[in-house]
């Protein structure tokens, strides 16, 4: 084969000119970027280009086939959630410390705690007669009748029967369940019972005022069956006759529940101040 003579190069110098112009242009571009202001100007282009390339190439084909991409995405989601929760935890710890200080300043009496038990739900009966749960904690674990149960989202029910190793919890979705509740914002009181559609129904509503739309519903603590302030749900909607409540516990898991005693504060007459009265009597006599 004949050796190249370079004749083509001489005949078509335009390509060579183009080549050198391109080289000069690139060198000029590189030099221009030594200016910080110009460099900052082109940075958004780089960011946009990087984003586009990132979305095109991630996850890789191998990851898509092997399913690793789905796992990786899930891990990223969970990591983001953990980071978010860590922020909340830090905030909660700070707030708890502040609350303790405020309570000390105000000389506020704290509520006594009780023995709490976490129990696993072994069986669930959603029959036509009663909606109840069977938990694997009973009298030997310290559970007593009247304990209330809550999951990670809110109130689940109340312990109505206790055996040695198990207990039965009547869910708040049961028709026969009655929970004294109140609106968190409006402060209105009512009684909630379970409906057939899995929603709570409010009865004994106040005549003058209405619950607010989407208002959070908490236990009112009246009657002493449940402590005050446990989350029950939020107002879903109102018809002519009744207010319906979306129950928070249904959004959480029902495999494990926390059984807690309802701490009631004894009335003053239960523990009268006898010593002071005696002292006063003695003073009058003298």
């Amino acid at each position: 084969m004949p050796r190249a003579s370079g004749k083509g190069y001489r005949q078509r110098p335009l390509r060579r000119y183009g080549f050198f112009i391109a080289i000069a242009g690139l060198l000029a571009l590189l030099l221009l970027q030594t200016s910080p202001r110009l460099s900052e100007g082109v940075e958004p282009i780089r960011t946009a280009a990087s984003d586009q390339l990132y979305h095109v190439t991630r996850p890789s084909l191998i990851d898509r086939i092997s399913g690793a991409s789905a796992k990786e995405r899930r891990i990223l989601e969970l990591e983001a959630r953990v980071r978010e929760l860590a922020q909340y935890k830090a905030l909660a710890l700070t707030m708890a410390e502040r609350l303790e200080v405020y309570e000390d300043i105000l000389n506020m009496q704290g509520e006594p705690g009780g023995a709490e038990v976490t129990a696993r739900i072994m069986a669930e009966t959603d029959g036509p007669f009663a909606e109840a749960l069977l938990a694997n904690a009973g009298a030997t674990n310290g559970v007593q009748e009247g304990y209330y149960a809550e999951n990670d989202r809110g109130l689940v029910g109340r312990v109505v029967q206790v055996g040695q190793r198990s207990s039965r919890i009547l869910k708040i979705t049961d028709f026969n369940s009655r929970v004294p509740v109140m609106g968190e914002a409006s402060g209105l009181r009512a009684i909630m019972f379970g409906g057939r559609d899995g929603l709570g129904r409010l009865t004994d509503l106040p005549e003058q005022d209405d619950f607010l739309p989407n208002e959070r519903i908490l236990t009112s603590g009246e009657g002493g069956l449940f402590p005050r302030g446990v989350v029950v749900g939020h107002v879903r909607g109102k018809t002519d006759k009744e207010v319906r409540v979306d129950l928070s516990m249904l959004a959480g898991q029902l495999s494990y529940v926390r059984l807690k005693p309802t701490i009631t504060v004894a009335p003053p007459e239960a523990f009268p101040v006898e010593t002071e009265v005696a002292d006063l009597g003695e003073g009058d006599g003298s």
Binding site: M1, P2, R3, A4, S5, G6, K7, G8, Y9, R12, R15, R16, G18, F19, A22, I23, G25, L26, L27, L29, L30, Q33, V42, R46, A49, S50, L53, Y54, V56, T57, R58, P59, S60, L61, D63
Partner: protein, 183 residues
């Protein structure tokens, strides 16, 4: 089975008859694909893999057919795509184009077809030239000499991949024409 055996022959015949512009587009497509895969995380049993500078492979291969506007445009585009990571704009394009010009110059000056040693040495030298340019621009832009070891592993990866896919960057133009295939 016979039909399966005929596939490489059929492909070789099609490649032989392909026009320079088609060959250029196919080569560009291969570069784009390898480049895109290169952007994803790569590891082999937990060991991160070095990825070749496939733009340089194209520059060396296309440079053998002489200068042309088409390859120059593609090499510039590949350069800008490579710059999207964190390099200064134009640095990879400069390395690609200079390697392209260097390959064209060496091919014109030396009779690589009659001298097998040269045909072997040409890509070794030109790719080293290209990688050296990337190292130089990275060092200049960062203000200090960047590490050589990663560049060397990338160089060997580039050389290895070049041996596998270099025929795809033969534009098939006659030497005496030296016109490239871009136009």
């Amino acid at each position: 089975m016979n039909s399966l055996r005929e596939i490489p022959d059929w492909l070789a015949l099609r490649w032989e008859n392909a026009r320079p512009r088609s060959r250029l587009v196919i080569g560009a497509f291969v570069v784009a694909m390898i480049g895109l895969v290169g952007l994803t995380p790569k590891s082999f049993f937990g060991v991160p893999l070095a990825w070749p500078y496939v733009g340089l492979i194209a520059a060396v291969g296309w440079g053998r057919s002489g200068l042309g506007f088409g390859p120059m445009v593609f090499l510039l585009l590949f350069g800008f795509a490579q710059d999207a990571s964190q390099a200064p704009w134009g640095s990879h394009g400069l390395a690609n184009l200079l390697t392209y010009g260097f390959s064209a110059m060496v091919t014109q000056m030396a009779d690589t077809e009659r001298t097998p040693v040269l045909s072997f040495a040409l890509p070794v030298v030109t790719l080293l030239f290209g990688i050296g340019l990337v190292w130089l621009t990275a060092s200049i832009s960062s203000g200090h000499f960047v590490r050589v070891a990663p560049m060397l592993t990338a160089y060997f990866a580039t050389l290895f991949v070049h041996m596998l896919i270099s025929p795809l960057f033969d534009l098939g133009t006659q030497r005496h024409a030296m016109g490239g295939a871009g136009r």
